[in-house]
Subunit: 356 residues, 2 copies
Amino acid sequence: MRKNFPMSAKLRDVAEKAGVSVATASRVLSGSAEGVRPERRQAVVAAARELQYVPNAHAQALARSGTTHIGAILHDVSDPYFSEIVRGLQRAAVDAGQLVTVCNSYRDPERELAYVGLLRSQRIGALILTGSGLDDRSYSERLAAQINAFASTGGRPVFIGRHHIAGDAVLPDNVGGARALARALVTMGHRKFAAISGPPLLTTTRDRLDGFKAGLAEHGITLDPAAIAPGDFTREGGMAGMAHLLDAGPAGYGSIASDATCVFALNDAMALGALRTLRDRDIDVPGRISLAGFDDIPATLDTNPTLTTVRIPLAEMGALAVSLALEPPSDELRVRHIRSEVVLRESTAPPAALSR
Amino acid sequence: MRKNFPMSAKLRDVAEKAGVSVATASRVLSGSAEGVRPERRQAVVAAARELQYVPNAHAQALARSGTTHIGAILHDVSDPYFSEIVRGLQRAAVDAGQLVTVCNSYRDPERELAYVGLLRSQRIGALILTGSGLDDRSYSERLAAQINAFASTGGRPVFIGRHHIAGDAVLPDNVGGARALARALVTMGHRKFAAISGPPLLTTTRDRLDGFKAGLAEHGITLDPAAIAPGDFTREGGMAGMAHLLDAGPAGYGSIASDATCVFALNDAMALGALRTLRDRDIDVPGRISLAGFDDIPATLDTNPTLTTVRIPLAEMGALAVSLALEPPSDELRVRHIRSEVVLRESTAPPAALSR
DNA sequence: CTGAAAGCGCTTACAG
DNA sequence: CTGAAAGCGCTTACAG
């Protein structure tokens, strides 16, 4: 590509114009040495400006064997959960003088693996793998092989979210957050629950569901498996999940609306969808049914009612991952546990039976 | 960086292991030639896999003088407007086998300029400048100089949004959309309007405001300058803008609430903020005041009431920009005009005086 | 303080 | 079909 175009000015052009050697030009332009006579320095700077010189980063990367590029692989930048993480990641990366290449895997393991290879070939210094791990043996092993190869050549992989692979990681407290949420809802007076789940193999799904069940169990409450609708962490999934609960419902009850008083959607995107379905059917939230999500994405403040959720500091997690990746490597695994926090808003209230 | 680490396998290693020359190894691995004897081909492939060989993209870029990388500079990926554009951009880029590096300028001209340089040095093949232009002479000239330098070496710049710089562009119809919105609102019965504006120098702000005024003017209605609150295209700006309108209001009226029946927030993010302020003050929307935004970001469906807005196909714009950038260069300027469309939802209704 | 030269890891005419 | 060699545009010991 770009075959028959005038090439952009190169270091040699600058050096010639300034009447110095390329070595000297390189020294002043990449600042690696301050020991250049002021007059020459200025000549070089002037020549570079005049020629609109921009160094060829590839040549630099090759000569230095290293880049100032970070790679990030995540589900989808336009998903608010990830876009918040990316925000923090970008901020921290820029502060450290790093550029970041963002790749959307759409939760496709093959695509993720392919991106790891692509980013490795870019000789990125660090790779942030954002998003849930997968309870899949073969996938984990293949990913681990790639990641280890990357790390063995000095690359710095960092995971955000629980994976079945040893490595530096930033781990949100999905279990603890969901447990705390369950406790809060029980304290509020709820006894019968339903849930809208996430993709079955994601560790995030499992952790949040396990945590929630554990919180209920503390009060002797169990979550009827029939009251767990399948979901996929999207708004549409939340709509469908809620419809599933309302229409099919736990066997014998006809509909959860006549039974459960509170629904836990495993993430906010689905909670937004669930809220939409409830509203379309004129089911009052929280009057007739309470609804809670997880993540605390910005949109939770714009719904009416505002959404009860579990806050995890997404942007901070992104920034933290970058700083982990940029710290000098160490022999021991670095894992940062991120506290989550229940945020009670308008979508949850004591069940009608109590408030009557 | 990565100094005392075992280097990753290089082509020479693969070639040795396979018992062929690096030329041959290169040919089979980069597929540039199918004319390699099957047995050797297989040996090379096997060796590459065994060594976990990943080509060094920098060496390739240098040897080929070209990359498969696209750069994009935009305000902020976590802003839903841009995150939608990025989604489309990513999709189209990946389909074309391109990686994309996303840079957040935060609307800082200096930062934007710096990124253009950085991306040029990465020898990206195309650069997508996303976001509004700026009515600023000095900025436009400096940016134009950089862009022209990029283009003159075969780079493909594409603008999304109106800039004061000649170049291929994807242009949403801000003027027409705002005009159509004004018409629709007048048809609905509104006669007195207020607005929450955007950053003053952005062409987007100007276009939307001009279009809106033009639409009102068709019906002999003028927008009182005092009824235009300053804003900044953020949710917080929308909250403040609405508060400004409610508290200060046009001189002589005390508050727009007692005068205007409809508020136009120049983008959806601000409309969300405005809605929040109205709700906090128990002002019914659309009962007492109608509210409209612009962009049709996904969140407009999750508010209650849902938000009237002007839809511009953000993801498609991103994809279109990529395809413009990837088309073979041409001598004439390519400009794609993107139609916008008024979407009436629950936040607008005939003014109370009419419906009474 | 400065320059000539080797080397970073590939690709690609050019011969054979 | 295959290999030796030049070249992509830098950086950086190594001499001076």
